[in-house]
């Protein structure tokens, strides 16, 4: 355990150092992560104002609150492992990874966290700025805030394991960008990013509840904004735990098969 903690610490430091080397990239990436929810915020606020009231239980100020929190949650749970995998396979960097006596996912998690730490202050500042402009309706209770923390951690883990598993596609095909595109569309649609799920038609809501994506982003947002009943909160935690377990099992299996494939063809 101590050995692993040491790896996380070193990888974390390395990640921070690498991030700081690329200030311009960091800024562009941040702008993207802030702009996307901002666009949805503006669109939905405008729509709700022009219909003269609320859509799916959201008024203009609720949309503001929803998207500002979503921006923070997305920032915490976001990964780019698909691009990393594609790059590693293309550049033949995986061999070095496979020669290390440690599972590569640890390095990826640590690196992801390091970049989050570097960018978090900026996103928090952006959230404060947007709050000043859009006057969001926050009614956050202490108990919801307390429940939000584990929900966010679970959301991060579920999203990381799912993304990492999908990224393994890079071992099988050279055209991973198509797969990534589909995955991103699914996340965008079913996670509550493009719209809060209660705004979507009923059948889509049901689908979203079954799929893992809502539990990676939408659930913690709805939870902290007090939009869920205690029963729904418990169901949400159960869904997160179930998806985490399922993703871990699938990842283990998929990793083994992918490495076997890699060592058969020798990319």
């Amino acid at each position: 355990m101590r050995g692993l903690a040491e790896i996380y610490l070193q990888q974390f430091k390395t990640g921070v150092a690498s991030m700081l080397q690329y200030r311009a990239t960091l800024v562009i990436w941040l702008i993207g992560n802030i702009l996307e929810p901002l666009i949805y915020l503006v669109v939905w606020s405008t729509v709700s104002r022009s219909t003269g009231g609320s859509i799916g239980g959201y008024e203009a100020r609720d949309f503001a609150a929803y998207y500002i929190v979503l921006m923070l949650v997305n920032q915490v749970t976001f990964t780019w492992v698909m691009y990393e995998f594609e790059y590693r396979i293309r550049e033949g960097l995986f061999s070095a990874v496979l020669l290390h006596p440690v599972h590569p996912i640890h390095a990826d998690i640590a690196e992801n966290l390091s970049s989050k730490v570097v960018s978090l202050p900026f996103v928090v500042a952006a959230a404060a700025g947007l709050s000043a402009i859009f006057h969001p309706a926050f009614n956050i209770t202490l108990s919801m805030a307390a429940a939000f923390v584990p929900a966010l951690v679970l959301a991060f883990l579920v999203r990381f394991l799912v993304d990492w598993t999908v990224a393994l596609a890079a071992f099988w095909t050279t055209r991973v960008s198509a797969i990534n595109q589909i995955h991103f569309m699914a996340v965008l649609f079913f996670s509550g990013q493009i719209a809060p799920l209660t705004v979507l038609p009923r059948p889509l809501q049901v689908v979203a509840t079954i799929l893992p994506f809502r539990w990676m982003i939408g659930f913690p947002v709805e939870l902290v904004l007090g939009r869920l009943t205690p029963a729904q909160v418990l169901t949400g935690f159960a869904a997160q735990a179930a998806w985490l377990g399922a993703a871990a099992v699938v990842l283990r299996f998929a990793w083994r098969v992918s490495v076997k494939k890699y060592s058969a063809v020798g990319a």
């Binding site: 790896i7 070193q10 390395t14 150092a17 080397q21 550049e91 070095a96 020669l99 058969a264 020798g266």
Partner: protein
């Protein structure tokens, strides 16, 4: 009792399946439906042993199967058939204890994180290999001294020159003091001074740690300086396994005579095979047994300014080995 070999390879095979496609649009469309596959035998039944502490040169032309073999030995590739054991482990199982005992240096971008100084990558490897800080420090100081890394440690890796980066790569790959070292072209693209330094370092590492080293190189100077024994493969098959000296003996029935004349006007084909002639500097290849006779005759018949007799360069010997196999 004989000691167990560090590396044991028996009838090792690796076959790749590759898709084939004719050029042209029609073939491109056809390939949407059906892709004919063909087998490529990259390694085709080779066997050898390496004793602990041995340095062996692994030679062969491009595509001979050298890298494939090294990848199988280090556990990156699963053999199609055959037996393989490295320090008593089956490499492809990639046991953590196995991975701690080996290293593979391949190409220019492996161990080091591109954007940060090499010193930080070394720290990362310390954590990955769980090296006790004192051991790590000692090994690192040694590597820094031997490879003269001191001025490079604080520069981001991407700002290093090719040779500087290679030195850092080698250091990173050896921090955990592996007992088995696979080196794939460790000196490629480096200038002569740097090549010599890396060569000296490899010899030194082998001496100090009793490490078993298998190395491929296109520079015969590397092989001549480091390896008593060479293994030559060609088209996946073992051509030669033995002392470098006997490789030269066995595959060269010729000597090279270089004669300095005034110009290249004279026709010397009667004396032997004319390899080249530049500014009167003429290179002849003659059968070994004929050397004395031809030399005497040249000196008698022609206004020779200078004359030397030599074994052909080792590159040429190797080239002949492959040519002979192909014929």
């Amino acid at each position: 009792m004989e000691t167990a070999p560090a590396i044991r390879v028996r009838d090792l095979k690796k076959t790749y399946l590759v898709s084939e496609r004719e050029p042209g649009l029609r073939a491109a469309l056809a390939s949407l439906v059906r892709r004919p596959k063909s087998e490529v035998r990259a390694v085709d039944g080779i066997s050898f042993d390496l004793a602990p502490g041995e340095i062996v040169g692994f030679l062969g032309p491009n595509g001979a199967g050298k890298t494939t073999t090294l990848k199988m030995l280090s556990g990156l590739l699963h053999p199609t058939a055959g037996e393989l054991s490295v320090v008593s482990y089956v490499p492809w199982k990639r046991d953590k204890a196995f991975l701690r005992q080996i290293t593979l240096v391949m190409g220019q971008r492996n161990q080091l994180v591109w954007d940060i100084p090499a010193a930080d990558s070394f720290e990362l490897n310390r954590a990955i290999y769980r090296l006790p800080p004192a051991d790590f420090r000692r090994t690192l100081d040694e590597l820094i001294a031997l490879l003269e890394l001191e001025p490079l440690l604080t520069k981001p890796v991407r700002n290093l020159s090719l040779g500087e980066r290679m030195k850092c790569e080698i250091a990173a790959a050896l921090l955990h003091r592996p007992g088995v070292v696979f080196l794939d072209e460790p000196t490629i693209g480096l200038d002569v001074t740097m090549q010599r330094r890396i060569r000296a370092f490899i010899a030194d590492y082998n001496r100090r740690n009793g490490a078993t080293v298998l190395l491929t190189s296109h520079y015969m100077a590397d092989v001549e300086a480091l390896c008593k024994r060479v293994i030559v493969i060609h088209q996946g098959k073992l051509l030669f396994d033995g002392e470098l000296a006997s490789l030269v003996q066995r595959f060269t029935a010729h000597k090279t005579i270089v004669v300095q004349l005034k110009d290249c006007a004279a026709d010397l084909r009667a004396y032997g095979e004319v390899v080249s002639c530049e500014d009167g500097r003429l290179t002849l290849r003659v059968p070994k047994t004929e050397t004395a006779r031809v030399t005497a005759q040249l000196l008698a018949d022609l206004p020779v300014i200078d004359l030397t007799v030599a074994d052909p360069p080792i590159e040429e010997v190797i080239e002949r080995v492959f040519a002979q196999e192909a014929a």
